[in-house]
Structure formats: structure tokens, C-alpha cells
């Protein structure tokens, strides 16, 4: 009974409680649609309107949106993986084996998290080069480019800290090779190395530190900078338009004055 369901939905949307939460109101008019974006704390990061020529695949290749997609997949799969994971030695490795052989769909969960992470690193690089070659980094968008560079570093650190968590040979030696580089920093290299690992070599302390960085600090930092990154697109005048994109002019001049006044 679609008619009855619609009626119930309409009643809910007209109720006082609903309208206290969602203030844009009912209706499909441009005003209501604009309010749907503007009155939502998350969506108001975006502008209410976008130039039509920026919707085509060629303008952006959707690389930024796809990067966000991998990030969302990583949050969901990451939280689920946290339910089965202990950041301790040697339990961390045993949990990997449990994910593989005991937990329902555990192997799939870990695969999805791992491959999404690799794809995210790739997409972030692709997005950066795409933005560069279109010239979208130029003023007034220069600060958003810098925010993007910060997000690139956060992405690399997220991927790198996650690399240690399975606590297998691959993880252990990759982190050993990488963290040894920090020793090469002049004067304070050994201190940085000790701070990073919580010891002089990769051990249980390092695992715990990387776990906290990977599951708490870096994701929060990423969310913060992603919010700024999106908001700045609106503040800097929307998605960058390249001269090669064919311009579509609105037929506004054809609208008769009496209709316009409506």
C-alpha cells in the first residue's frame, strides 16, 4: 500500500519533532533543496549549487569523491576489525589468524580494509596530480592545496601505522626499515626514534603506540582536515573551472519579465 505509507511518512515529516530536527521543510522547490544543504551541519560544508559543467566525469574524474569513499569504507571496516583485535604481543597475530579462520567473514573484512587502504593512497596521489595539472591549486585556492598536502601526509601515516598492526614479519620489518630512517634526523634522531616506538626497537610498546595513532589520533586529524578541505571548496568559489570545459549558459535571458517576478 504505497498510498498509506506515503501518508504516514508525510505525517511524520509534518510532526513537530521532525520539524524541530530538519528545518528545511517539505517540498521539492529550489528553495527547499537549497535549505536541505544549507541547514545541515555536514552538508553545509558544500555550496547549495554547482556549475553544471563540473558534473561531467572529465572535470574531476570524481577522484576527491572516490577518496572520500575509500575513507568511509575504511572507517566502517576499521571499527569492525577493532572488535576482534587486541594491540598486544603475541595476541595481535593470533587475532589475525582468528579473523582468517574463526570470525565469520573476518578474512573478507580484513581484505576490504587492506585493499581500500592501498587504493586510498593511490587515489590521494592521483587526486593531487589531477588538481595540479588542471591548475586548480592557483589563488584563491592555494590554502586548500596546502590542506590537501596535509591530508596526503595523514593518509600516508594512517597507512603506515596500520601496516604494523597485523604483527607479522611483513609488518615488523617494514616498520623497522621505516622507523630507522627517523634516526638519521640530525641531533634529535635517536630521541624521535625512541618517542615513535616507545623503545629502541619495534616491540609491544611500538604496537600500542601505532594502534592509538592509527585508530584514534590520525583518523580524528583526518576528519578535521577533510572538513576544512570541503568547506574551503565553497569558500574559494566552488570547484575550479578550466577553460577547456565547455561552458553551458543558462537560458535566463529568455525568461519573460512577468514570469521572473513570480
Amino acid at each position: 500500500m504505497p498510498g498509506k505509507t506515503d501518508k504516514i511518512l508525510e505525517q511524520i515529516e509534518r510532526s513537530r519533532v521532525w520539524r524541530s530536527i530538519f528545518r528545511s521543510g517539505r517540498g521539492g522547490s529550489p528553495l527547499h533543496r537549497a535549505l536541505a544543504i544549507q541547514q545541515n551541519v555536514f552538508l553545509h560544508l558544500f555550496s547549495t549549487k554547482v556549475r553544471k559543467r563540473m558534473l561531467g566525469f572529465n572535470a574531476t574524474w570524481y577522484l576527491g569523491a572516490l577518496t572520500l569513499g575509500t575513507f568511509l569504507i575504511l572507517i566502517v571496516t576499521g571499527v569492525l576489525l577493532m572488535l576482534y583485535y587486541h594491540p598486544s604481543v603475541p595476541q595481535a597475530y593470533a587475532d589475525m589468524k582468528d579473523l582468517q579462520f574463526v570470525v565469520s567473514s573476518g578474512l573478507f573484512l580484513r581484505n576490504l580494509h587492506r585493499w581500500s587502504a592501498q587504493v586510498m593512497v593511490f587515489l590521494v596521489f592521483a587526486h593531487m596530480f589531477r588538481v595540479f595539472y588542471r591548475g586548480a591549486y592557483r589563488p584563491p585556492r592555494e590554502f586548500n592545496w596546502v590542506v590537501g598536502v596535509v591530508l596526503l601526509l595523514i593518509t600516508l601515516l594512517l597507512s603506515y601505522t596500520g601496516y604494523l598492526l597485523p604483527w607479522d614479519q611483513l609488518a615488523y620489518w617494514a616498520i623497522t626499515v621505516g622507523s630507522n630512517l627517523s634516526k638519521a634526523v640530525p641531533l634529535v634522531g635517536d630521541k624521535i626514534h625512541f618517542l615513535l616506538l616507545g623503545g629502541n626497537e619495534v616491540n609491544a610498546n611500538a604496537l600500542l603506540r601505532f594502534y592509538v595513532l592509527h585508530c584514534l589520533i590520525l583518523p580524528l586529524a583526518a576528519l578535521l582536515f577533510i572538513a576544512v578541505h570541503f568547506w574551503r571548496i565553497r569558500k574559494d568559489g566552488g570547484l575550479y573551472v578550466h577553460q577547456s570545459d565547455p561552458k553551458t549558459l543558462a537560458a535566463s535571458k529568455k525568461v519573460a519579465p512577468e514570469k521572473e517576478a513570480k
Binding site: 552538508l43 570524481y62 572516490l66 595540479f132 591549486y137 614479519q169 617494514a174 634516526k183 638519521a184 543558462a250
Partner: protein, 234 residues
């Protein structure tokens, strides 16, 4: 503007798409409003639905990938048993390749720091918004500087036996020489294209080329003791 007759007022309205614009033009100037309405679409639903669709398609691809290929898992971490070679994650293998030639302070600290700093300053450095071709203005001086840097860099890389980085550098340098001796009005499309490229484009392209080559070499062509191997050989 004490005298109200010193300016004319006009307004331009398209209430459906954008708020009313009011313009005051003083008589002394001859400013003109060149308004043209670019067609816009509502973010909700048109843009949001497209983005959701794109993310859903990506999710399908990733799910299929995860069903087909398992994430690698080796034996439990063992500090007494070093695998040969011990490799970093793939996106750091370009740096690890450099580490093979240079001391850690150069490959592990100086190179990444310079890289990040140059990425950050790109938009501030490129003051020339129109971004003319590199060799179109001040040609003689720029050619001299280019030859100096290109030859210096190549000699440096070859002296340290970093042929892996020297080859992409040489190829980009050759492309730049072609650009220097091409006109933006050339009949050959490729020469027209290269002649119009600004400095930032050349630096970034060189970086991209090095990144791809070094990462690919580190990932696929390096075996025990960081020696050359073929990815398809066992």
C-alpha cells in the same frame, strides 16, 4: 558622492538562480557589468546522488577485489630473523630505492622534507597566473639556467650511480630541449603542447616521472640484497 546625481544605479536580477545584484556606476567611470549566467544545478539532489553513485561503484569494485584476493599475512614477527630484502610499504619504496644510493640523512630526511616543502610552496611560488611557456620570455637567460641545472643534476646522479633516477631526468630534460626549440604556433601538436608549459608543470612532471619509476623499480625489480631481479623470474 555628495551629489546623488553623480552616479547611476542599476540592478540585475535572476531570482531563480542567484540573489539580486545591485550596481552603482559613478559617471566618472565607464564600468560595465558583464553578467553571464552559467547554468548551475542544485547540490541536492543532483550532485549528492552522483557522488553517492560513484562511491557505490567503487565499493562494488573493492568488494569484488576483496573476494578474489587475500591480504598478505606472513609468519609472526620475529626480531631474530631478518627477511631479505626487508621492504617498506609500496608507497615508500621510491625513498627506499634512494636509500640504496645515498646516506639515510639525504634519502630519508632531506629528500622527503624538500619534497613536502616544495609541494606546499607550489601555489605561492607560481605568481604568474596565466603561466606562460617556460622559454617564451627571457629565453636566453632561462636556457642558460636550464642547461646548468639539468647537466649539474645529471652529472650528480651519474656520479652516485643513480641511473634509475638519471634516466627519467634525462628524458624530461630532452622534452624540455624540444620545448625550448618549438614555437607555440608550431604545426606539430606535441611541440605546440610542450612549448606552452610553464616551469611548475615541468618540475611536477619530473617529480611524477621519478615517483613512478623509483616506486616501480623498488616494488618489482629489487630482490635479495637490493639486487636487480625480474618480477616474473622466481
Amino acid at each position: 558622492m555628495n551629489d546623488p546625481k553623480e552616479f547611476i544605479a542599476g540592478f540585475d536580477s535572476d531570482q531563480r538562480r542567484s540573489p539580486t545584484r545591485v550596481v552603482f556606476v559613478t559617471r566618472r567611470t565607464s564600468a560595465q557589468v558583464k553578467a553571464n549566467y552559467e547554468e548551475q544545478v542544485q547540490t541536492y539532489p543532483e550532485v549528492l546522488f552522483r557522488v553517492v553513485l560513484a562511491i557505490e561503484l567503487l565499493a562494488i569494485v573493492l568488494v569484488v577485489l576483496s573476494l578474489l584476493f587475500n591480504a598478505p599475512l606472513e609468519g609472526i614477527a620475529d626480531a631474530t630473523h631478518t627477511p631479505n630484502p626487508a621492504k617498506a610499504p609500496w608507497y615508500f619504496l621510491g625513498l627506499q630505492e634512494l636509500l640504496h644510493y645515498f646516506p639515510p640523512v639525504v634519502a630519508g630526511v632531506l629528500a622527503p622534507t624538500m619534497l613536502i616543502v616544495s609541494l606546499v610552496i607550489i601555489p605561492y611560488f607560481n605568481i604568474n597566473i596565466e603561466a606562460d611557456g617556460l622559454f617564451l620570455n627571457d629565453r636566453q637567460r632561462r636556457l642558460q639556467i636550464f642547461y646548468l641545472i639539468a647537466i649539474g643534476l645529471l652529472v650528480f646522479l651519474v656520479a652516485f650511480h643513480v641511473y634509475v633516477a638519471a634516466v627519467p631526468t634525462l628524458l624530461v630534460a630532452i622534452a624540455m630541449v624540444v620545448a625550448a626549440y618549438s614555437s607555440p604556433q608550431s604545426t606539430v601538436a606535441a611541440r605546440r603542447y610542450l612549448a606552452n608549459k610553464p616551469l611548475a608543470w615541468w618540475v611536477m612532471t619530473w617529480f611524477l616521472f621519478e615517483l613512478i619509476v623509483l616506486t616501480a623499480v623498488g616494488t618489482f625489480f629489487r630482490g635479495p640484497g637490493w639486487s636487480w631481479v625480474l618480477p616474473w623470474g622466481s
